[in-house]
Amino acid sequence: MELDAVVLGTGLSESIVAAALSKAGYKIAHVDINPYYGGDEASLTLDELLQWAKERAESSVDSDSAYLSSQRERFTNISYTGSLPLQSRQYAVSLLPMLVPSAGPTIDSLIASGVSRYGGFKLLEKVALFDSPGVVKPVPGNKEDVFKNKQLSLLGKRRLMRFLMFAGGEFEDKPELQGSEQMPFTDFLKDKFSLKEEAVQAIAYALAFCALASDPTLPALERIRRYLRSSGRYGPSPFLVGHYGGAGEIAQGFCRTAAVAGATYVLGRQVSSIVTAPIAEKTTGKYTLNLEDLSEQLRCDLLISSPDHLPLDLQGDSSITTASTNCSFARCIAVIDRPVSFSTSESLEGSGGEDPASDMPIQDLSVDTALLVFSPSSIPIGSSTVAVNVLITGEGSMSAPRGRWILYITMPLLGDQSGGSHSPEELLRPYLDATLSLTRTSEHPESALPLVTLFYEQSPREGPENNSTEASLMLSTPPHSRYLPEVADSAARNAEVTFWRALEVLKSAGRLPGDKNSEEAVENFWPPLEYVNGEDDEW
């Protein structure tokens, strides 16, 4: 089969590139060894997740693919407990928990590509900081939250609002920032805005999602500004959570769009060999791919791949290297059958019913789709330098059956956790227990017991270090951002960079978008959407 490009791996970044190239008119094939879409960002049912974990936990068998052995190096210290609950296929568990800001490259791509028509999203309900067992602290992220907050002093409110106005505006030239761009963000908040510890924690870890107190100021401010400007687009929260497990479902949406535009999909097949043609032979295409159990060969001038999917002998050749500065993560996925409640100290005090005449219903503080943040030192046996977050998704995000919730705990292995002497289970068990303390109610004074838990460590891909001159081979998967709301956007940004580079390579190989016979250059990442008759024209 003659193609312009072959994309290997269906991770988020690769899928976006595949859709963009395909929509631009290029003929592409998209191949994944896995029988599902999404790669390391897939959404799996619980039984698939169990299978995924088993394959990576088993000690190596000779007949295994290069892909699986590289996966085993990257997903380590796996421990699984619990038995498969009923309806295990009604769960959509994401291998990569993430939040999508309501404004940014991911949403732009989703809308411009038309993928947004396939996927659904739920607005994140709440972000809270863990306070003590059973109790959280609200995170004042906007004017109304600050006004309602009962813990901040009046002066504290004024200072916090002044900071939020600063962070939401054009702060680049403001005197407060001059010379402090790389200062630890927590120090910046204390020094320049006279904020107290409580407010500093909320801003640094629950608004800017810093992993460490020493995270630099300028990027943290830029993140906060993006999130402040994201709020209000789809509702009060700046963040969206994808239905059916998020990242994997979005990747699949882009794949579907690519297929609609003519891309060929091959899932569950391994690339058995890639033959590079000598430069002299111009006619047949630079690369010839043989797929397992498939007689037809794929010939193309450009290969775009996630590193795991490339045979070792080609890995030295790639033109984009994955940043090895990225960190490892300890992760936990747990399924629970009682809701987590975000009770604050006031809501607990006030539960006596101070206003009997009021007809306000007793507030239901349980959450369906929300984020809990542990700032450093917030639990006694936890990390004293690293912030940990817990994404909770339930029925509302279509990722669990009614009455079940999935918890995703993520800890970047940085600061005092970078040594790696503890297993992910040892590291994260205290955080899981603390989160479960929020399931206690007067009816159930004990914490809920998880039905299933999976702990593992995820290392970054060991990308080749050398910048090869070979431009026709590209690695596209970016390092997973350590900031939960940046994961998707960094993939989308990386996809766009890869797309433009791919265009240059294809042009220099003399390949123009297929059915367009003109010399018309591709001008946009996404071509204009065709007008779809439907809900938009109801008047």
């Binding site: 006004f147 009046l154 409110k157 004024r158 609002m161 206003d355 009021s358």
Partner: protein, 303 residues
């Protein structure tokens, strides 16, 4: 054509349907609304059973609800709803005379809340809400209305309509003796202070504060509030509303309590007002002339 029919006193169903069509095109055509009501009263009601009348009015309420979604601020639509609600006959049973009315009013309250969810600052809707609450056969408690405004203010306090509703509800609760005035005022001052510190540039908050202080009968309260605003001004030295309010309350203090004041205290109050007003001329230069006039007024009255 409609004018001709109107002139000819055409009270037929055809004329009625024509008004519906016209109003669909332009719900601001008040002559048509009047004609429609005329047909109702003269042409339709005399020949209809109470149940049929109730049915027709419900239909009109449904129609106008749809209009409101598109035109939430047209007086004639709100006006027509009032008329419909007031025409609802007794029934369905003799022993349940208010049955239809209650059902309609409750629907009305629900509609108004929906309208306020969409646009919490629609003053038509707030005004209409007061009307509904006052007309409903079985009154809702004012305390629950107070907590309704609290919810609206908490979701966005830059909403003068909600604060205004609060002044109405509180005034009636205070008058009825259902709330301890002094305690309730303290609670309100605390609430409004939280809003002032959160956003000192929000005008509605300061206006509400002025309503709470009222005539300034209590010099201690005035002095305490001046001190508290001064604290905020110290933290936020460029706040126009802080400065203006301090001038306002100090002037009030002078006006109301001059007789109990030493000349030196009086002198210093006047001096402080002058200072703030000259700063205001600079901070809020668009209203420079207003501040100059205020200075002159204070000079003429107290010096």
């Amino acid at each position: 054509m409609l004018y001709v029919q109107k002139k000819n006193e055409d009270l037929s169903r055809g004329a009625f349907d024509l008004t519906t069509q016209m109003l669909r095109m332009n719900p601001e055509f008040y002559t048509v609304w009047n004609y429609r009501r005329h047909i109702f009263i003269q042409g339709i009601f005399p020949n209809s059973s109470p149940a049929a009348i109730n049915e027709l009015l419900s239909e009109d309420l449904g129609l106008t609800a749809a209009f409101l979604k598109q035109h939430p601020k047209v007086y004639w639509i709100w006006n027509h709803r009032r008329w419909c609600l007031e025409q609802v006959p007794d029934g369905p049973l003799d022993e349940d005379k208010d049955g239809w009315r209650m059902a309609n009013w409750n629907k009305e309250l629900f509609l108004v809340e929906k309208m306020l969810d969409v646009d919490p600052r629609n003053f038509h809707a707030w005004n209409y809400r007061r009307y509904v609450l006052a007309s409903i056969p079985v009154r809702r408690s004012q305390v629950s209305e107070l907590s309704y405004t609290t919810r609206k203010i908490e979701s966005n306090f830059s909403n003068f309509s909600a604060w205004h509703q609060r002044t109405k509800v509180l005034a009636s609760l205070w008058q009825a003796g259902e709330l301890n005035v002094a305690q309730s005022r303290e609670d309100e001052l605390d609430l409004v202070k939280n809003a002032m510190y959160t956003d000192p540039d929000d005008q509605s908050v300061w206006i509400y504060h002025r309503w709470l202080i009222g005539d300034g009968d209590d010099p201690l309260l005035l002095q305490r509030e001046i001190a508290s605003i001064q604290e905020l001004l110290d933290e936020q030295p460029d706040s126009k509303w802080c400065m203006e309010s301090i001038v306002y309350y100090k002037t009030l203090l002078l006006r109301r309590h001059l007789s109990t004041m030493d000349t030196s205290v009086q002198q210093s109050l006047v001096g402080e007002c002058f200072d703030l007003l000259s700063k205001l001329q600079y901070v809020d230069s668009n209203r420079k002339q207003r501040y100059i006039e205020l200075s002159d007024e204070i000079k003429n009255t107290f010096l």
